[in-house]
């Protein structure tokens, strides 16, 4: 696999691994293409992502995109966070191999699900 250095960095030193204590939103998704699984937990306060962590069972791209997305949205307002696309994550990682683009969907979707979970619980 020819992954970018950024991908390898996030794969080997992933940021924000784990489960947020006192999470008020959790999103777990499975990738229908490959069966990989990702869970994102968030602590949202005043429509801002105060804390975010992930757990991923998947390929290096899946792990790196999870790590990257948590970095990208931490401290951001929900609205802004929801606008982070899978492409933006891939771009932030200096790109992904063609057959690995689908992996970035996992991260974007898990985040969306976690926020939706929070919104559902608090409405």
């Amino acid at each position: 696999m020819s992954y970018s250095d950024k991908v390898m960095d996030h794969f080997m030193n992933p940021r924000n691994v784990g489960e947020v204590e006192n999470a008020n939103g959790i999103g777990q998704v499975g990738n229908p293409l490959c069966g990989d699984v990702m869970r994102i937990s968030v602590r949202i306060e005043n429509d801002v992502i105060k804390d975010i962590k992930f757990k991923t069972f998947g390929c290096a791209a899946a792990i790196a995109t999870s790590s990257m997305i948590t970095e990208m949205v931490k401290g951001k307002a929900l609205e802004e966070a929801l606008r982070v696309s899978n492409r933006a994550v891939a771009q932030a990682l200096d790109g992904l191999p063609a057959q690995k683009m689908h992996c970035s969907n996992l991260a974007a979707e898990a985040l969306k699900k976690a926020i939706q979970d929070y919104l559902a619980r608090h409405s």
């Binding site: 992954y3 998947g58 057959q99 689908h102």
Partner: protein, 385 residues
């Protein structure tokens, strides 16, 4: 960085003796074996000597060896060639659900051409059951193709017993021996096969050369058309250096097989035992005894294969997750699923295949670095509760 190659089922290095034998044919002995002149006849002689050596590895006769561009071509030639040549007798074929893609995809192609193919299940250890082969035979059955040893889990199939069945019923038997030849004894008469696939690059020979054993009298259509090479079974200018290398590799494998198999089996057991001891929630895949001497394969629960491979690679260890030729694919191994493993367990597949240059220290290095890698990945995994 320390580098340890543990992916000998994917491919092997060319042995120095083999390259040595090839070099004259890569240099001054460049004739086309079909040419009548000095250069041509010199090349032809070398091809025929290699044919003898390859035949000897599997106790066949030289004229029963057809050189091909590799195992994939030989598998295609066997399966498609035998199916077409014998279609007048019937259109039913029996194979297993754990064959290499070269056989499996050829079978699927034949299904699209109107053949009926039975894909037999396997046991949890990856064994084809002989009585199920027997039960699947119909008066329409013209071909049975069961691999000798599986490339993903190393399980060795009871081909000789299937051979007896096939002989009784007059059905052609093909076996893909790409992984077994040179590692364990392969004797075409003892196995009772009519067609058998070999590949040079799995036995320290060059890439791009293979062979199909074709028992005298077996009806087989070619899949290529052209010149008169290989008794019209496989046209195209012969890859003389490759064939010469294959011959040398076959001769050396035959010579050293017994001692090397013992050595490798001990290393493999050290590896498997060590893994079991050090890594919890590990599933050994394949049969514990009926397996290739150099083959260790496991599924590491809660962890995905590519992450595992990449982490190992970063520490200099080459391994694979299932077969090399599907490593770009997203689906988990059809072999592991056929053995009944759950999807998410099959995703954690790791294959470590030993070879000539591996020593105890290599095994110990893997045993040292793998547990922390697994631990790190498991800590990230949402599947472990």
């Amino acid at each position: 960085m320390r580098r340890v190659y543990l992916d000998h089922s994917a491919t092997t290095p060319i042995r120095p003796e083999v390259l040595e034998a090839m070099l004259p044919y890569l240099r001054e002995r460049y004739g086309n074996p079909s040419s009548l002149h000095h250069w041509g006849q010199e090349a032809k002689k070398a091809v025929e000597q290699a044919r003898e050596a390859v035949a000897a590895l599997i106790s066949a006769r030289p004229e029963e060896i057809v050189f091909t561009s590799g195992g994939t071509e030989a598998d295609n030639l066997a399966v498609i060639g035998a199916a077409y040549a014998n279609a007048a007798k019937g259109r039913h074929i029996i194979t297993s659900s754990i064959e290499h893609h070269a056989v499996l995809d050829s079978m699927q192609y034949l299904e699209r051409q109107g053949f009926k193919v039975t894909f037999l299940p396997v046991t949890a250890e990856g064994l084809v059951q002989v009585d199920e082969v027997g039960a699947a035979i119909t008066p329409e059955t013209i071909l049975i193709s069961i691999m000798h040893a599986n490339n993903e889990v190393g399980t060795v199939q009871p081909v000789a017993l299937i051979g007896q069945l096939a002989k009784e019923k007059g059905i052609i038997l093909h076996s893909d021996a790409v992984q077994s030849a040179g590692k364990i004894p392969v004797d075409v008469d003892e196995l009772g096969v009519d067609l058998l696939t070999l590949s040079a690059h799995k036995i320290y020979g060059p890439k791009g050369v293979g062979a199909l054993y074709v028992r005298k009298g077996t009806r087989l259509d070619p899949i290529f058309h052209g010149g008169a090479q290989e008794r019209k079974r496989r046209p195209g200018t012969e890859n003389t250096p490759g064939i010469v290398g294959f011959g040398r590799a076959a001769a050396l494998a035959k010579q050293e097989m017994a001692t090397e198999a013992r050595r490798l089996a001990a290393l493999r057991d050290r590896l498997l035992d060590g893994l079991i001891k050090r890594i919890p929630d590990l599933v050994i895949t394949g049969h514990r005894e009926k397996r290739l001497p150099n083959h260790a394969s496991v599924c590491v629960k809660y962890v995905e294969g590519e992450s595992l491979l990449l982490s190992l690679d970063l520490q200099g260890v080459a391994a694979s997750s299932g077969s090399a030729c599907t490593s770009g694919s997203l689906e988990p191994s059809h072999v592991l699923l056929a053995m009944g493993l759950p999807h998410e367990v099959a995703q954690g597949s790791l294959r470590l295949t030993l070879g000539r240059e591996n020593k105890e220290a290599d095994v110990d290095y893997v045993l040292e670095i793998l547990p922390p890698i697994v631990e790190r990945l498991r800590a990230m995994s949402p599947l472990r509760c």
